[in-house]
Symmetry: C2
Subunit: 442 residues, 2 copies
């Protein structure tokens, strides 16, 4: 079956609904270059205006998935569960969820991304560990997952090539911010992992792509619908990204935070453990993943089991195993920054809000992130938060510390951070870390 | 000044309004290939959804105009007036308006098009005259206009190249049917003629791009606004295209009809002159053009003067002069078709409606028009109408005759025409030939 490109564009332009056959043809013709870049650009813009139904988005996702090769883990004859986050600042839970699930003997084939824009990427974090290798071959990845339950790799050229091509085009034609196109892009890559379950960490707030919880909920529902229509069990947690998650943001520093949490350490400041948010969210995401695997029957048991895997050191051993089989890598030689500076409160009051995207942009200035995919990263660059939203502070008290191997941008960074950490007269309304759960409905 | 392409696309996508500078940059960057085809396709689709204001459309028109070279007739120190039709079936008035205006000593530099789709083109009609040349150089065209008042040529590569490039792109990305893009395309080419006045013949009905008079009015208003914002006086006539205009549709046959009208002939069938619609509309368009030139003060005087130029043979002499200076061409050797067939009424009643676009498609099947720009034309192919909408007919009476140099498609054509000419119980409501005039407002 073949279609006339302009007729498919016209159909979406007029608000029509594509059949699965049409979307299959569209994506495969696009991959072949027969549905041209300019036709795809016009179609993507029509989608931006008229949207796609869940069925269309699912068909698009599956077409993009089948534009390349996918893993096949069916021979394991066991559940495979992954976690995907929509991105945030200091969002390091993959480094804990992976080891926790491996310790629970749940297969976790994790295809991760690099940081771009104000959000970080798991691959960059792991690469700050001397010797760690993320560029696994498909065969190595499959073997690591099979033998160690957990492995991490980047997207290769043969995984969802249509998504890669479409994403570059959307980037330069102002069609990135289309909910169904975002969902198809995320889910095609996750479906390539051949999962049976997926836990989505959908962030909302000042450091998330979705500022409002309503938008995050809409995104979560669509992602969940696509996964379920494709036969994957999906749970989605709507989580608070109105401040960086935990103590550190920055590649090597986030690895350190996770390693210390796995070792059972806490980091108490003013009677509070600044590691708590990272630990709590990782435990909760892992418990939902365990529940999706079908190995436990309810969330209470899942939480208990996951907590025990952390407390017993089983998750730490799984992480050290990862460092070995994706290395050998030496976490004792995590690089540290040459320069560091503290930011202090200019007045007394309460930390009333954080412009978390601006904190992410400050991280880019420090060298911890990228403006374009070609940018080089300084693994030592980062920010350590001393306060959380709602904390009472006195004038002159330290709010955070930032550090990097070059102090060249420290003036800019200090200005960015000073504006990003808002101090007011009264404490703000507290927002829970996990605001809402869209549970799996098997 | 330079812009980020994706930011310009985003602005239109979000319903924003472009500045003249932005549109100038967009079109010149597009001509240079810096604003790419896929970016233009996305932008055109955003325009399809969000439209352009009259100011934006005018700026776009002028940017396209200045993407190439335009004529400069200011040295004539006299009015230059042209007529533009939005296209129809049997729409041959240019062949009368040009000579009438030349006889009135009004400069008429006419850049015309070829037929595409169901509508005919002036260049194809003139080329059916043995020896007639439409491929004039710019210098020849300018000289002919200067010395003979009237000349006709096709669009050359250096006239509005951005329009040419954009039109091909719109054709394959389903963005042809955007009112502001249609208007900018039409008007950029007309403004290249360096006119002081323009009469628009905006068709409505079953054979027109705009089916309803409301849509035609909207198109007319926008075209008029662009012309006036660019310093050209514009009058627009909304005219009836619910049936072919006059006796013939088809290239050589339409030339014959015009030549006979210029000779003062009539073609009476059943007490009515079948040449009347062509003659009346051409006189009316010419009278409005004369009024726009400023040489007469009111439409009554303009009509009288134009009628006199037809009656006296002055317009015939201007046409014969055109045949000479764009030839030498020999109208006595107009080609005629080898095959011909009559279509008769299958029942008695009234001609209640004509599907005029379908008649245009029948003309394409006969070889009188093109499906794609590469198609070859049979100049002899055509249709002669014996009836008009509202006529009483008896079963078996001839409705029309069709002819061509090949009878290969006669079965298809007969079926198309039989469906297109509808016969009902009662006569339909009569629609005037000129339904509305949007007069020049100097």
């Amino acid at each position: 079956m073949s279609y006339i490109p302009a007729e498919l564009i016209k159909k979406k332009k007029l608000g029509g609904c594509h059949s699965r056959e049409e979307l299959n043809w569209l994506i495969s013709a696009f991959t072949r270059g027969e549905f041209t870049d300019y036709q795809m650009a016009a179609w993507a813009m029509a989608v931006w205006f008229n949207g796609l139904t869940d069925d269309e988005t699912t068909a698009l996702t599956n077409s993009m998935l089948h534009s390349g090769s996918r893993f096949d883990f069916s021979f394991l004859n066991a559940p495979r569960v992954d976690k995907h986050s929509t991105g945030g600042v200091g969002d390091k839970t993959s480094l804990l969820v992976g080891p926790l699930l491996a310790a629970a003997k749940i297969y976790t084939p994790m295809i991760s991304g690099r940081g771009l824009g104000h959000t970080g990427g798991t691959l960059d974090k792991l690469e700050s560990i001397p010797g760690f290798r993320v560029n696994l071959s498909r065969k190595e990845f499959q073997s690591h997952v099979t033998h160690h339950y957990f492995a991490v790799m980047g997207q290769t050229a043969d995984i969802c090539p249509a998504d890669k091509k479409l994403y570059s085009l959307r980037d330069v034609t102002s069609t990135v911010d289309s909910l169904p196109l975002i969902c198809a892009s995320i889910m095609s890559k996750k479906l390539a992992e051949d999962l049976t379950g997926l836990v989505l960490d959908v962030k909302f707030g000042s450091g998330a792509f979705m500022r409002s919880i309503a938008d995050a909920r809409k995104l979560a529902r669509t992602l969940k619908a696509i996964g379920e229509k494709s036969g994957v069990r999906v749970a989605a947690l709507l989580t608070n990204m109105n401040e960086p998650l935990g103590r550190f943001a920055g590649n090597a520093a986030e690895v350190l935070e996770c390693y210390e949490i796995l070792q059972g350490k806490t980091f108490a400041v003013g009677g509070r453990d600044l590691y708590a948010p990272t630990r709590d969210l990782s435990l909760e995401l892992s418990a939902h993943a365990l529940l999706l695997s079908g190995r436990v029957n309810d969330l209470v048991h899942a939480r208990n089991q996951i907590r025990e895997l952390l407390a017993s050191g089983a998750a730490l051993r799984a992480f050290e195993n990862l460092l070995e089989h994706q290395g050998p890598s030496d976490i004792s030689r995590l690089p540290t920054a040459k320069f560091s500076k503290e930011l202090t409160a200019t007045r007394s009051g309460f930390v009333s809000a954080m412009q978390t995207e601006a904190i992410g942009l400050a991280l880019i200035e420090l060298g911890a992130g990228r403006k374009t995919t070609a940018d080089h990263i300084d693994p030592t660059a980062g920010i350590e938060m001393f306060v959380r939203t709602g904390d009472a502070v006195s004038a002159g008290a330290p709010l955070c510390r930032f550090f990097a191997n070059s102090a060249a941008e420290f003036v800019t960074v200090e200005q960015l951070l000073a504006r990003a950490l808002e101090i007011g007269e009264t404490p703000p309304k507290q927002i829970p870390l996990v605001a809402e759960v869209l549970a799996d409905s098997p």
